[in-house]
Symmetry: C2
Subunit: 446 residues, 2 copies
């Protein structure tokens, strides 16, 4: 093995994920060389600042700030990208692929924006493009969709793909704490970014849904086409009411084929039956549940982020593409993968059971007016719970707003209803003087 010509790797970025990759290559280099058929050798580690302290020991001679030279190095076979962000990563990977290198990336934002172009560039350049680490951290969902279900058709998928949202919702449920307070604690623990909106407003999950849809549905889809809601509107009371009805609240990325074959793609918090596998996926875990024609139901659960969990996925890809290069047959991974535009379901056109929560002034006739508005829009009520004191003890702080004692929280579970009907009914209800703030509408999923 020692005499085998090594497979040389340029690593872009040496932060959380990049240092995890170096760590795993250091620990398991001997075994990985056997599986690849040749040693994996780090040729360059491209960083912004060579002097910065790192959690992993890196030979200073490998560090470089000259990305272009490291990408163009003709002795390099594979480029591993662990930088994140659309640029300069996008330009650099395009350059690497055009130069015939194979590329491994964990960059969901870049893939969501340009995966079809990157796949085409890989095919043209003759290299491989692999991206297991872009969705679900250590969860082997990309490999499962791309290779395991190669003879199958995925009809729906539901993913808990943002660990920050899941961590916050789990703590809100367990502690009865408000979103803002838990977010702050999560930021202090490093589970949420100082600028949290990419996570808590759902865009990160939308990025991942675009990557999943690529492989699950062969669909070319971009984040601005995905209706996206975050978790800021969820209150502890919602988690409590959901539990009372037999549900958990999870932030989901959902993709499914409608009856007429359109794709219904969306990101939002939703109620999940307490006994469904996704309901017990707590904290920073991620999970993807899917339904396929042949395989039936599948669920994959694992760590959604972190240095080593993500690096495990990166190195799995690295071994795949390195083995193919060593064997002289790069390009096999994406061979035959087809991506095309597919018709999307019209926003609001799909049916669901809905959880509706509103905060109203407690006076005679209010419930009748709400029920009337729902009925006029063909939304029929399956269950109703009303709780005094806005569902809190008097004086409780509720997302910053202390509400008077004359308010009540009313929660409905509807029968199956069209989204646009539910939205129209809530617009009407929220415009009424007896309603405080904005009502919340969450789908029941599964």
């Amino acid at each position: 093995m020692a005499s085998e010509k090594p497979i040389r790797v340029t690593l872009l970025g040496c932060g959380t994920v990049g240092s995890g990759v170096l760590e795993l290559l250091g620990r398991n280099g001997g075994y990985l060389a056997k599986r690849v058929g040749a040693p994996l050798e780090i040729a360059h580690v491209v960083v912004r600042d060579k002097a910065r302290a790192r959690s992993v020991k890196v030979d200073p001679a490998l560090l470089s700030t000259d990305a272009v030279a490291c990408l163009d190095d003709p002795t390099v076979d594979v480029v591993v990208e662990a930088m994140g962000g659309e640029e300069p990563a996008g330009a650099w990977l395009a350059r690497a692929l055009a130069g015939g290198k194979s590329v491994v990336t964990a960059n969901k934002a870049l893939l969501a924006a340009r995966a079809p172009a990157l796949i085409a560039a890989a095919k043209k350049g003759g290299g491989d493009l692999a991206f297991e680490a872009s969705v679900g951290g250590a969860v082997p969902i990309i490999r499962t969709l791309r290779d395991h279900l190669v003879s199958d058709w995925v009809r729906s998928l539901r993913g808990i793909v943002n660990g920050t949202c899941n961590y916050i919702l789990t703590r809100m449920r367990d502690e009865g704490a408000a979103f803002a307070d838990v977010l702050k604690a999560a930021q202090e623990l490093g589970y949420a970014e100082a600028e949290p909106s990419l996570d808590v407003d759902g865009l990160d999950a939308a990025h991942k849904l675009c990557v999943l849809a690529l492989l699950a549905f062969g669909a070319e889809i971009y984040p601005d086409e995905v209706p996206t809601e975050g978790i800021r509107a969820i209150e502890p009371i919602d988690l409590r009411f959901a539990a009372r009805f037999g549900y958990a609240i999870k932030h989901l990325a959902v993709g499914r084929e409608t009856k007429n074959g359109d794709l219904d793609l969306r990101v939002h918090p939703a109620l999940v039956p307490a006994r469904a596998p996704l309901a017990s996926v707590d904290g920073v875990l991620n999970a993807i549940a899917l339904e396929a024609d042949g395989a039936g139901a599948q669920v994959l659960v694992g760590r959604g982020a972190g240095s080593l969990p993500t690096a495990v996925s990166v190195v799995a890809d690295l071994v795949d593409v390195a083995r193919a290069r060593r064997a002289g047959v790069p390009g096999l991974l994406t061979q035959g993968l087809e991506v095309a535009r597919r018709p999307l379901a019209l926003p609001g056109s799909q049916e669901a059971i809905w959880y509706l929560r509103m905060r109203v002034v407690d006076r005679p006739g209010v419930l009748a007016q709400i029920a009337g508005a729902l009925g006029r829009h063909d939304v029929s009520i399956e269950q109703l719970v009303q709780e005094g004191g806005a569902g809190r003890r008097a004086g409780d702080r509720l997302d910053g707003a202390t509400v008077g004692d004359d308010t009540r929280v009313i929660v409905f579970l509807t029968h199956v209803a069209l989204e646009r009907d539910v939205r129209a009914a809530l617009s009407e209800i929220d415009a009424a003087s007896y309603v405080q703030g904005r009502s919340l509408a969450l789908r029941v999923e599964g």
Copy 2:
């Protein structure tokens, strides 16, 4: 693509799995050809009886009873085995591998007995050996262990890998019905074999554990080395008591490294915390939960059996090995896989929290005697529940035995205790005149 030389396949067996494979190849042939780089072409379907009616349409010209001719056909690239049983499958696959073919098999009994020899034969012959469908049906556990966790070390795994056991335990829990009655119903529905012992006595799960241990721990291990218990001793009362303590009872295949690096491998029913992911895996679903150094915790859930779920796994392997042959590089899948004998934990040497259930005659001093016996063997009690009437309504049928009203069921949860101490205490207790039948001891797992 039409001009590409096809990859030719001999299919051994056309029962449940084999006909599923033909079904999927028929449905998705065009797409699979693109992913392989060449069409997949069935060369022969080897069956025992050409005249038998089949659920899938097979060109009669492909059917053959001459296995050797079909295995030796020099135009054949890949042999897919969907027969089951050690022989003649074992001899046939050895012949195919020796002839340089790649082999895909779903045969856990054969792999459990001879996987190391088959892997060696594949390496010698230059073909691939793939066996995703041998464990977990549609669950992508083999691919995950072999490829996804290539840079990681699995420290423990727990699998619900026998759908028959899981189906029976689920119905016993939901209906409060006795094992024998549910088994009979399962046989009528086709979820259990007429001769059920391979499943309900745990041997099938032990086979699968041997296959899992191969990839998870690099361990050469055989079924007679795995302490194996089935589910015949479980009564509805156990499922009810377990739920009362906050647990489900699942039939598990367990593999773990002990503190000193020995392998602790076993198959038995166990208590699983109600909120753990495995607890919600019901009916005919399978699941494997594992703990790895880098990736952390992972859980994979899916259909454990059935024609198409199993065939999805077979065809995924077929595409892998066919693509490698088309590219002229067979043998990549098992490249570098190492399997070796590893020290096994001594039976009885491991600690656990235990659920103990005994049926005793209700007379003064009995509880003191039981507690005394447990204490003498260093088994200390964490919780105790005693229920009158043997935990049933008077006159209830309990696995065929009607017990008098002077019996009581006593259930303990212990503190952490050594298995050999628990067994010794129960031997002593079961020998006493106040105990009826054999006491049950189940570990708490996870």
